[in-house]
Amino acid sequence: MFERLSKYLVPIAGKLNNNRFLSVLRDAFMLAFPLTIFGSIFVVLTNLPFLEKIMSAGALANFKDMFGIASSATMGIMSVFVVFGIGYYLSKSYEVEAIFGGAISLVSFLLLTPFIVTLEGGEVVSGVIPLDRLGAKGMFLGMITAFLATEIYRRIVQKNITIKMPPGVPSAVAKSFAALIPAIITLTVFLMINVLVTQLFNTNLHDIIYNAIQAPLVGLGSGIVPTLVAVFFIQIFWFFGLHGQIIINSVMDPIWNTLMIENYEAYQAGAALPHIISKPFMEIYTVGMGGTGMTLVVVFAMLAFMKSRQLKQVGKLAVGPGLFNVNEPVIFGLPIVMNPIVIVPWIIAPMVVTLVSYFAMSIGLVPPPTGVAIPWTVPFFINGIMATNSLAGGILQLVNMVIVGLIWFPFLKTLDKTNLMKEKEAEKAA
């Protein structure tokens, strides 16, 4: 039965993985990744809990101001990198000049952005770019604009509507002239759209897209039920030996990342964190305890309580990588893949634990992740404390691991018995 299901899943996984737009999105978020990690380091450092005790309030505020720019210039304007990244990677996938695709996307996005800020008193300040439009708030408009702008740009280039320089002209000059007509046409389209929207409807596309698309989608994605569905599918894909996150995250990342940046913006402003579910929640509380399925505790159990040689050997092999949340040895060595004995704990445990984490955070027992990005290879407990800026965040992981261990134990024991019997038979035969 599993083999037959697998035959259906492999093509789906391949399609999702190879889909041009999804893989461009994935790469674009990867472009933002080192930058958000850089920003996150300084968010973590300036919010260390003991700073309040060793610094005066004034000194601490000053200290935060000094280093605040590190995250404002990265996570605070994350849409800029995603927009540029989409333009760049999408152009590259069509084999047209990628750097211009990135630049044209970015300008198209800026053309739709109002360069004014309305202050609380109703006063309008012009000649400024509102930072929040370049952060979480502009994320979906940015993604949509970048895809559309690049599609227009590359079509014009591919139709060969370009200015060609005679041979002998330096290639950088020739390339910028070649991009001239496609750039002017693409940018004029977005300029005209903006003129229409602002003059006829007296609003801007930022607000329209935010209210009509981003807020509903992101709101949906922040709920526990869709999150459990995502976890379920990630586990199912891995059960068939396919990289669940690569497949599911390419769809969910825009939403999870937007939630992350919204939390970060609230955190930096000293406001209450609006979301529990976010990218860090998924990474720290569904993967960050030994890899997908939170298998580190399963590895500990193999080493401590299991008797069969097979499980002990997998345990020894898996414990090192498991500390850094790499668990391919468990998935393929135990194996988890297509193993009917472990399908129940493999799917149930992460869903139960996700529910427990969500519950602990919604009743205020544990603070939700602050929105800082933590590399997924940081070991458990440490990553939990870093993500929530609270010891409780680490302790929650320990509780989660106990739960995973309890759910797994009877199934692991069954597997151990079967293995022991097989090993004895093999010895007798030899």
Partner: protein, 100 residues
């Protein structure tokens, strides 16, 4: 010199296997170059490889990779699941040799 390219999602988990394969190759006196890359990098490296092995979690890449690899006349195969899971350098290395 035998050149074996391993590909997975980010090149992280296959790098475990690289070390084990190198150790085994060295133990039988083979001169090898074995390296791991992420899926986006992999195709660019095909020209330098004698054979391409894919991590089993990315098995859905096989068809696409195979098309590309034909240009270089090299074979693409998914690493045996057990060999991958147990980081069995010998088994994975022998699988690579059988494809060259």
């Amino acid at each position: 010199m035998k050149k074996i390219l391993l590909a997975c999602s980010s090149g992280m988990s296959t790098s475990l296997l690289v070390t084990k394969m190198e150790e085994y190759a060295a133990s039988i006196g083979d001169e090898v170059k074995i390296w791991a890359v992420g899926q986006d990098q992999a195709k660019k490296e095909f020209a330098n490889a004698d054979v391409v092995l894919i991590g089993p979690q990315m098995s859905f890449l096989k068809g696409e990779f195979q098309k590309e690899a034909e240009q270089y006349g090299i074979k693409v195969e998914v690493i045996d699941m057990m060999a991958y899971g147990m980081a069995d350098g010998k088994k994975a290395y022998e699988q690579a040799l059988s494809l060259m």
